[in-house]
């Protein structure tokens, strides 16, 4: 028996070894080929540029709209400079992590960057962004939403140029609203009415409840709509005044907790990000959705591709972000992208400024809105017939952006947002009586470096 096993084993071993020697031959050749390919790549990389100065623009992922603008600005520059894009990670927090690390290391190859407005204060305060001089700032801010300009400033100076602005709307299925007997577009439509309608029709309200920046957007919009704020005197850094322990935050917490514990919550609410919440409105229980402006384009694209039922587009309605108090106008979320100039780039004082002017021109904003469905930062563009044809909700978007409630501008934004997400997550654990107070205490501890996050 032993012998049989032994014999059976040998051929196996031989094959194993044989395979090994067989594999040893090619790698040498492969290595050579790889080396040649690398050298060739290096040569073309060196030869391609011609002497035109290169500007590297770190962009958030999109469907190619920013790359197209980089190309057209390169052409418009007529050989003065060329813009190359480099891709950042997909979520805002990870984008910030990469940019901050590069800037802290004084990366001279970081010329332009697409920045989430909430990170402008941190980067500006750390000296990572090149401020725009008064003369340079004027064309970048005239005719631009004031909310977008304010979000690009730090201590009175403009540190980034608004490129596109964003806001959330209440998207809803007209059939569901009809069944519930409500008009979400009517003035005075509140979260209470929304929750009631969803519960009565057994439909869902899609929101972003994952522990990430999108959840902070929701919390901030609710607090701002109730007339409160999270922090003030942000310039004082870790001595800033923390205002989240307030009746407004209690109202916000009450809405989140009621939604999370009702049948209107998506089953995966505590891990839902934008795209998951968008999927809920297309599902069998789809009713309502709080989400950014990109939804319109995304839904139309999905319907054309056959991923969702075509009838959904005709059934899709939109309204302003719901109110918290019936008598008080809501403050919808504010987002978008601003273009900043790296403080250590070689061409920061001349070519980079020109490039920012080109990228954020009205023509490019309009083009980007048509290409990507992302909303322009200049209100005048919303009256453009091309835009109105493509985005029937453009006037509503414009009014929402103009009266939006931005998230707090503070150099410690990541800590503030992280601390709030920590104490307010999962949404079903939120308690209006304790969560605002506990989060206020926690923000203070985190800001003073006395707590882990």
């Amino acid at each position: 028996m032993v012998e049989r096993v032994g014999r059976a084993r040998e051929p196996g071993r031989a094959r194993w070894r044989g395979g090994g020697t067989g594999r040893h031959g090619p790698p040498g050749k492969v290595r050579g080929a790889v080396a040649l390919a690398l050298m060739a790549g290096g040569l073309t990389a060196c030869g391609g540029g011609g002497g035109t100065p290169k500007l590297t623009w770190y962009i958030n992922p999109d469907s190619g709209g920013q790359a197209a603008i980089a190309k057209s600005c390169t052409q418009a520059a007529g050989g003065k400079y060329r813009i190359e894009t480099s891709l950042l990670p997909s979520d805002a927090t990870a984008q910030r992590e990469q940019l901050i690390r590069r800037l802290a290391a004084k990366d001279s190859g970081l010329d332009l960057m697409s920045l989430d407005p909430v990170f402008v204060a941190e980067a500006a305060n750390a000296g990572f962004l090149r401020p725009f001089a008064k003369g340079e700032a004027a064309p970048l801010t005239e005719g631009v939403f004031d909310t977008a300009v304010q979000s690009s400033m730090w201590e009175g100076k403009l540190y980034a140029a608004p490129f596109w602005a964003n806001t959330q709307l209440l998207w809803y299925r007209k059939s569901v609203a009809k069944k519930a007997g409500i008009d979400p577009a009517a003035p005075g439509f509140t979260w209470d009415k929304l929750l009631d309608a969803a519960n009565r029709t057994n439909t869902t309200i899609g929101v972003q409840g994952n522990r990430y920046e999108g959840y902070m957007v929701w919390i901030n919009a609710l607090i701002a709509s109730a007339g409160g704020r999270i922090i003030s005197d942000a310039e004082k850094g870790d001595e800033a005044s923390i205002d989240i322990d307030s009746p407004a935050a209690e109202q916000a917490a009450s809405i989140i907790s009621r939604l999370a514990r009702s049948s209107a919550a998506s089953p995966t609410l505590s891990t839902d990000i934008e795209e998951q919440s968008r999927a809920t409105i297309n599902g069998p229980r789809g009713g309502f959705l709080l989400n950014w402006g990109y939804v319109w384009r995304a839904e139309k694209g999905d319907a054309e591709a056959g991923a969702i039922d075509k009838s959904i587009i005709g059934d899709l309605g939109w309204a302003r972000y719901p109110r918290v108090n019936p008598q008080q106008e809501s403050k919808p979320p504010f987002g978008g992208i601003e273009i900043g100039i790296g403080a250590y780039g070689k061409h920061r004082d001349d070519l980079a400024v020109e490039a920012v002017r080109c990228i954020t021109s009205a023509a490019n904003m309009k083009r980007y809105m048509l290409d990507e469905g992302n909303v322009a930062a200049r209100p005048a563009i919303f009256d453009d017939p091309d835009i109105l044809k493509e985005f029937p909700m453009a006037p509503l978007m414009r009014d929402s952006i103009a009266t939006a409630g931005p998230r707090p501008a503070t150099p410690y934004y990541a800590d503030v947002s992280g601390a709030i997400q920590n104490r307010w997550h999962p949404p079903a654990s939120v308690n209006p009586n304790t969560t605002p107070r506990k989060s206020a205490e926690f923000i203070r501890e985190v800001l003073q470096g006395k707590a882990l996050l």
């Binding site: 032993v2 096993v5 059976a8 084993r9 196996g12 094959r15 194993w16 395979g19 927090t93 992590e97 901050i100 690390r101 802290a104 941190e122 980067a123 305060n125 750390a126 990572f128 994952n210 522990r211 990430y212 850094g237 089953p267 995966t268 609410l269 505590s270 891990t271 998951q276 999927a279 150099p411 990541a414 800590d415 992280g418 997550h425 999962p426 470096g449 006395k450 707590a451 882990l452 996050l453």
Partner: protein
Amino acid sequence: MTSADTALKRPAGAPAKAEISDRGRAERRLGLLLSAPAVIVMLLVTAYPLINAVYQSLFSYRLTAPDDRRFVGLGNYGTALSDPLFWQTVVTTLIITVVTVGVELVIGFALAMVMHRAVFGRRTVRTAILLPYGIVTVISAFAWKYAFDVQSGFVNSWFGLGDFAWFSDRWAATFVIILSEIWKTTPFVSLLLLAGLAQVPRDLGEAATVDGATAWQRLKRVTIPNMKAAILVAVLFRTLDAWRIFDNVFIMTSGQEKTQVLSFLTYQQIITRTELGLGNAVGVLLFLSVVLIAAVFIKGFRVDLSQVRGD
């Protein structure tokens, strides 16, 4: 000539030091010279960052506010050790480590036996068993995440779980993290155990069979005692790996629902918050815990690392 040879030829009782010849000294110097580049590289890539981390952990220091840096002594360690979050992550990490290493040891042993005993299709069997280990952890984490996802996953429809949200519950999420970790690294354990199995002399088993021992008795009294060293090395390596788990947690839950582990806690302080002082303190604590685990194994269980090489 090795030192063992010298020792054998040395007359008993003679003092060792006086015996070193010129040639021996030259060889020793050559040995030092030959290993010097490796030692220098090790110092550069391991010792320097380590010392730097310890140094930075003594400051209140934020990457985005370098001017506000101030010395706080061991304050950051006090903050970390007195924070309930730190101990919560320690517990989570401990649970993941104990469960994964325990389960992997059992399954890994079974797979090692299969690989050892396979009579035909030996190469196919080994390849099939080792395949998960060849997959990048991040990729496998995504695969498991999507499998258990309510919208895109198949697990819920297979088992009729409706819209059970795996990642919205602490224990369900930890379960999936553990499952993917086991799937991914059991092959590594079975590989180490296979090496141990191959070292067990076959005639011992045969003798036991002749004496009438059952298969269970042979396994318990002959095979396992003879491969104790391999088992301990496998447990040590896997414990250290599991203790430093990061990718699965990062991809699947990003630490929410109390699934934070020690490495992730370090990542959040240093990379996300750019709190270099506090983050490095957590990192140093993680390092010390790793040293402690290794010391317990090597001193306590007398693991001889030279016996089995797993990598």
